[in-house]
């Protein structure tokens, strides 16, 4: 058996010398492997460079005790990527230099592109168009597959829908309640100060009732769900792409629109309005409690006054928003999930984009609702 590599690291050394015929020479000795070179590569390289400036120099590498590809490459680069004419190598070290000569042709650098910015802008616009197109295609595919489902309702993904409902709905009750309650309290405190100044204490009911039921409740619940379930859906579909699970479904002839996407859209469209009711309810309780301490309006009279201040149609409007927001979030999350490329970075980017897009979409949709229904359910009693 061969001797093992000695544990002690021998210093790599470069010395100037003189060859027998009087020519300049350089003698290298010691260990020229990664362990020894790690800390002194730059220094040695500049030393070698100086010596290599003399093309007629003889190189004596025969006293190098240990050599590896790293050491060989370092020396060879100092030579200007070709062997010197006069070279003495230790026995067995020839192999390290033999494949180096082919390494010379390195990768060509990317050429400079003066139109880079213009190209980037164009690419971004094309990407946006592609996203819109992809979204429309997804909706179309889901509709086609849903028609098939109407003919065979028993084959529907009922279990998946129920599982998704639990995940996006039931499990979101805690966080939406907490956030809703705090928002209700804060809002009530802030308004109470202002209303007190005008002696309009009783209008806290109108203010909170309208604000929370019509606008804040739906938007807060939707933003929370977009962050919570939207990211989860994108990540799940994305990982399934990375691990080729989506391809496995396709080759089994199981359309992933029906098994994976439809259940999520249906579940969110059902869960979202309910979550909105829940969030608004808790926020109103928080608001009523704060109004009680700040303005002396009892919780009982707060809720007695609520139906008078907020027409019932606002509840329906909130529920309608819920259905739209839920479906939008699920659709966007699935769209981005399916577009994830099979690598980890794309997964991260996809998830971020999904959440940002769905929150933006929710707010845009809310604005559209506000314009369309501007004269519905707003009565000053």
């Amino acid at each position: 058996m061969q001797q093992p590599s000695a544990p002690a690291v021998l210093e790599p050394e470069v010395r100037q010398a003189r060859a027998a015929d009087g020519a300049t020479a350089a003698a290298l000795s010691g260990a020229w492997d990664i362990r020894a070179l790690e800390s002194r590569a730059r220094l040695l390289k500049s030393q070698l460079r100086q010596l290599a400036a003399d093309p007629g120099r003889h190189w004596d590498l025969s006293r190098i005790q240990r050599l590896d590809h790293i050491g060989a490459l370092l020396i060879w680069q100092a030579w200007g990527k070709r062997r010197p004419a006069q070279l003495a190598l230790a026995h067995g070290h020839e192999v390290f230099f033999s494949n180096l000569d082919s390494a010379a042709a390195a990768v060509p650098a990317a050429p400079f592109d003066p139109l880079r910015l213009v190209r980037a802008l164009g690419a971004a616009m094309l990407l946006t168009a592609e996203h819109l197109l992809g979204m429309v295609q997804l909706i179309g595919q889901i509709l086609i597959d849903s028609f098939g489902l109407i003919r065979h309702p028993l084959r529907g993904p009922w279990r998946e829908i129920s599982a998704s409902l639990f995940r996006v709905g039931t499990q979101a009750l805690g966080i939406t309640a907490l956030v809703g309650f705090l928002i209700g309290v804060v809002l009530s405190y802030l308004s109470a100060e202002q209303l007190k100044a005008f002696g309009a204490n009783i209008f806290i009911i109108n203010l909170l009732g309208m604000g929370i039921i019509r606008e804040l409740g739906p938007v807060i619940a939707a933003v929370l769900v977009a962050g919570r379930s939207g990211s989860a859906i994108t990540a799940q579909l994305g990982v399934m792409r990375v691990t080729e699970e989506l391809d496995a479904l396709s080759v089994m002839g199981i359309p992933h629109t029906v098994r994976l996407i439809l259940p999520k859209i249906v579940a969110l469209a059902i869960a979202m309005p309910l979550l909105i009711l829940w969030t608004s309810g808790i926020a109103l309780i928080g608001g009523a409690l704060a109004a009680n301490t700040q303005l002396g309006i009892s919780v009982h009279s707060f809720f007695i006054g609520l139906p008078g201040a907020v027409p019932t149609v606002n509840l329906w409007l909130a529920m309608g928003k819920g259905v739209v927001f839920g479906a939008l979030i699920a659709l966007i999350a699935c769209h981005f999930g399916l577009r994830v490329q099979p690598n980890t970075e794309s997964l991260g980017i996809g998830t971020t984009n999904s959440v940002v897009t769905s929150i933006t979409a929710v707010i845009v949709a809310d604005a559209i609702f506000a314009v369309i229904f501007s004269d519905v359910g707003i009565s000053l009693s």
Binding site: S5, P7, A41, K45, H69, Q77, N99, A103
Partner: protein, 263 residues
């Protein structure tokens, strides 16, 4: 001479499922050791424990004479620069190109300039027989066999003294398996590499390994040369080496092994 790897009375237990019972293994410098055993016999687990990725329930693992458990983080870090690992699935960083994957360990040293790193990467790509034009590709755009060879290039880029290979030839065509065997053999001669590999590929196993460690019944039932391994009467060995495929591989390399009980 200090052993490269020393595993002493190692126990591994998951719940009440015992995977290794009092297992001992010593690998000396310059040896090529193949770890074989049935599916689920604990080969991958053993390798992960030697690499310090998992903790054994009991027992010690020393690499280059340094115990992995209880040593300072710096010391363990030093060991990690001296070994290279080829994972079963390659484990290339999917967000980095082939070039950057191989360059990463070199860049991490902060000792070499980009020109050097570029040449080194190209050299390693040549070594594992990957054309240079693939250097800018992303791992997702590569075939399974290419991923494996590039992962090997990455494992070798720091000129390790110890190399772990998990199923190195699975997924390679016979030609490439052959050149893989040649590559490992030449590296072993050049650099006196110590190799520990898990493999089911009999050709690779027979043509490369000095020693064979057979894992069965929670222990190493054999640890020795091919000849010694074949001599042991155990159902796994009978099936693995002396089955039809095994005999073919053995005769192909002209192993002058006396096949006990079979001829």
């Amino acid at each position: 001479m200090t052993p490269v790897i020393e595993v002493e009375s190692l126990w591994t237990q998951f719940g009440d499922h015992v995977v290794h019972r009092d297992l001992n293994l010593v690998v000396m410098p310059g040896e090529v050791v193949s770890l074989v055993g049935g599916s689920g016999s604990g080969k991958t687990t053993l390798m992960r424990q030697i690499l310090g990725l998992e903790q054994p329930t009991r027992g010690t693992v020393k690499v280059f004479g340094i115990p992995l458990q209880g040593s300072s983080a710096q010391l363990v870090q030093k060991i990690r620069k001296r070994w290279g690992v080829l994972f079963q699935e390659g484990a290339l960083y999917s967000a980095l190109s082939v070039f950057d994957n191989i360059a990463l360990p070199l860049r991490e040293l902060r000792a070499f300039d980009e020109d050097f790193i570029g040449d080194m990467v190209m050299l390693k790509l040549d070594m594992v027989d990957i054309e240079r034009r693939h250097a800018s590709k992303m791992p997702a755009d590569l075939s399974g066999g290419m991923i494996k060879r590039i992962a090997l290039a990455r494992a070798l880029v720091l000129e390790p003294e110890l190399v772990f290979l998990d199923e190195p030839t699975a997924g390679l065509d016979p030609d490439r398996s052959e050149s893989f065997v040649k590559l490992i053999r030449s590296l072993h001669q050049k650099l006196n590499l110590t190799v520990v590999m898990v493999t089911h590929d009999l050709d690779t196993l027979v043509s490369l390994s000095h020693k064979i460690a057979v894992l069965a019944e929670q222990q190493l039932i054999v640890y020795g040369s091919l000849k010694e391994a074949i001599a042991v009467q155990h159902p796994f060995i009978l099936n693995f080496f002396l089955g039809e495929r095994g005999l073919r591989a053995l005769s192909a390399v002209g192993a002058s092994v006396k096949l006990s009980g079979k001829d």
